[in-house]
């Protein structure tokens, strides 16, 4: 065991350049993966915020007694899809239009009759924020007599659906492309280490070293390099994140970094990558030396 560690560290010391290259390569691969992870994570969070805005609006007939509305509101609140129901009176609607629709501020300022109807605004539960659920809720709302019309921004909800699908697909594509590239680079690096030491390995064999004796230090070394690569990758991600965070605040984007679990995952992933790469390529190459 002691010997194994000594040999692994010796080999580090003796092929310093290649070792550094391996660590950098693994770090680079994990860094790219990590960056994508960060983007995906923040995209997911951002989508979550967008999704929260998926709502169904039911326009209420003018003059509906407030008690009817109150009863209906509690009925609607009981729908499994619905998280929250908000009653927006005529006055509220006008007020909101004045503040939110800047371009028409002047227009609304001078009105003598309020053209805006009162409405019920429904926010949906997390699992139901899609076009189908919103449609079903709208259908049920139309059953209430005092409800004039229901809108749920069909297009908006459908766009959101599509965005989510595309983000998923693109994410998957980029993620697997980079994973593949990482694996190739790591494999090549390790194979080159083995090649560079072909003579050494040959000599070890000639003096009676078993395959596992030769393999051990390589594998341990691979794992160490993978771990170091992971550490470096986390540091790089942190640095890039910090840089972007500064910019992002100006844009009003709230960016989030990895939690300890994600960091651990990255380190474990790096170690496994180094380990797997060295096991595979040492095994494959040793047969040929």
């Amino acid at each position: 065991m002691n010997l194994l560690w000594r040999e692994a560290l010796l080999s580090f010391r003796r092929t310093r350049l290649l070792s550094v290259l391996s660590v950098v390569t693994i770090a680079f691969a994990l860094f790219v993966t990590g960056l994508f992870g960060l983007v995906a994570m923040n995209l997911r969070l951002a989508l979550g915020q967008l999704e929260e805005r998926v709502e169904v609006v039911a326009f209420v007939q003018r003059g509906t007694p407030s008690q009817t509305i109150a009863v209906a509101t509690s009925d609607i609140s009981a729908f499994p899809e619905v998280r929250e129901v908000l009653y927006v009176s005529e006055a509220d609607a006008l007020e909101r239009a004045r503040t939110e629709l800047v371009e028409f501020q002047d227009a609304y300022r001078d009105l003598e009759v309020n053209p805006l109807p009162p409405s019920l605004e429904l926010k949906l539960q997390p699992g139901y924020r899609d076009a189908r659920s919103a449609g079903e809720v709208a259908e049920r709302l139309r059953g209430f007599g005092f409800i004039e019309d229901v809108r749920y921004g069909r297009e908006w909800v459908q766009n959101l659906d599509r965005l989510r699908t595309i983000a998923g697909l693109v994410g998957l594509a980029i993620g697997s492309a980079f994973a593949l590239v990482s694996m190739v680079i790591i494999g090549v690096t390790i194979r080159m280490t083995v090649l560079q030491r072909a003579r050494e390995i040959q000599i070890m064999r000639l003096v009676g070293a078993t395959d596992w004796f030769i393999r051990g230090p390589f594998i341990l070394e691979g794992a160490i390099k993978g771990f170091l690569g992971g550490v470096l990758a986390v540091a790089l991600c942190g640095a890039v994140f910090a840089a972007f965070k500064g910019q992002g605040v100006g844009l009003g984007l709230g960016l989030t970094f990895f939690g300890p679990l994600e960091v651990l995952a990255l380190l474990v992933f790096g170690t496994l990558l180094g380990l797997a790469g060295s096991v595979v390529s040492v095994g494959r190459h040793l047969k040929r030396v």
Partner: protein, 228 residues
């Protein structure tokens, strides 16, 4: 200990066979010279014994192992029972002389506390105590050769194969190394030494195997009774 039966060796790129129909037997405690012109097949013969090459035909047995049928696991076990001096030394370039020798012990799982003493002993036997810390590139040709010899000796192997171990040594060093091999032989180790130094061969009076173009053309023990 070593038995060749109708052994042939063809290299894939070679037109002529490197060895053809070689049959001989080396028993316990023998000291055997292997001679022959350059390219006669001496190194090929030794390579078969330590399973760097496999025979193309015939049967090679060394120390109980059948080389042609050796599994990957058995190769290291065979080699740990052999001490080998390679014609081109084969020292690990990024280890010092002492580390090269120690490595042969570590590989066989020697206890770490006995290693330094044994390394120092064999370095002394080949007269290189003062070069223990030198890397191969910092050693003269003859010094490298002696490190290779020391590495082969350090395990006290039952069989010692030496391929031209004195090609880079002066007369005195040659005599020293030869005396060392004889001492080891006297303590029971089988020694097989390929050499061009016919003076040495003639003076020593040991058994001689001579190869010519891959054929065994002379065996000074041919008329002796072969042990079972």
């Amino acid at each position: 200990m070593i038995r060749f039966t109708k052994v042939a060796k063809h290299y894939p790129t070679g037109s002529e066979p490197a060895l053809a129909d070689v049959t001989f037997h080396v028993g316990r405690g023998e000291f055997v010279f292997l001679t022959g012109h350059s390219g006669a097949g001496k190194s090929s013969l030794l390579k078969l014994m330590y399973a760097e090459e496999r025979p193309s035909a015939g049967d090679v047995r060394v120390s109980g192992f059948t080389i042609g049928a050796l599994t990957a696991d058995e190769v290291p076990r065979l080699r740990r029972r052999l001490g080998i001096v390679f014609q081109d030394f084969r020292l690990l370039e990024d280890r010092t002389a002492a580390e090269n020798i120690a490595f042969a012990l570590e590989v066989t799982g020697s206890r770490a506390d006995v290693i330094p003493a044994r390394v120092a002993r064999v370095l002394g036997q080949v007269g290189l105590e003062h070069k223990a810390g030198a890397f191969p590139r910092e050693l003269s040709g003859g010094e490298q050769q002696r490190v290779a010899i020391a590495r082969a000796l350090v395990n006290d192997p039952p069989v010692l194969l030496a391929d031209e171990p004195t090609g880079n040594l002066d007369e005195r060093a040659t005599r020293g190394v030869f005396q060392l091999l004889r001492d080891i032989n006297a303590s029971g180790t089988v020694v097989l030494m390929a050499t061009h130094d016919l003076d040495l061969v003639r003076q020593a009076g040991h058994r001689v195997l001579e190869l010519r173009d891959g054929h065994l053309v002379f065996d000074s023990a041919a008329d002796q009774e072969e042990p079972a």
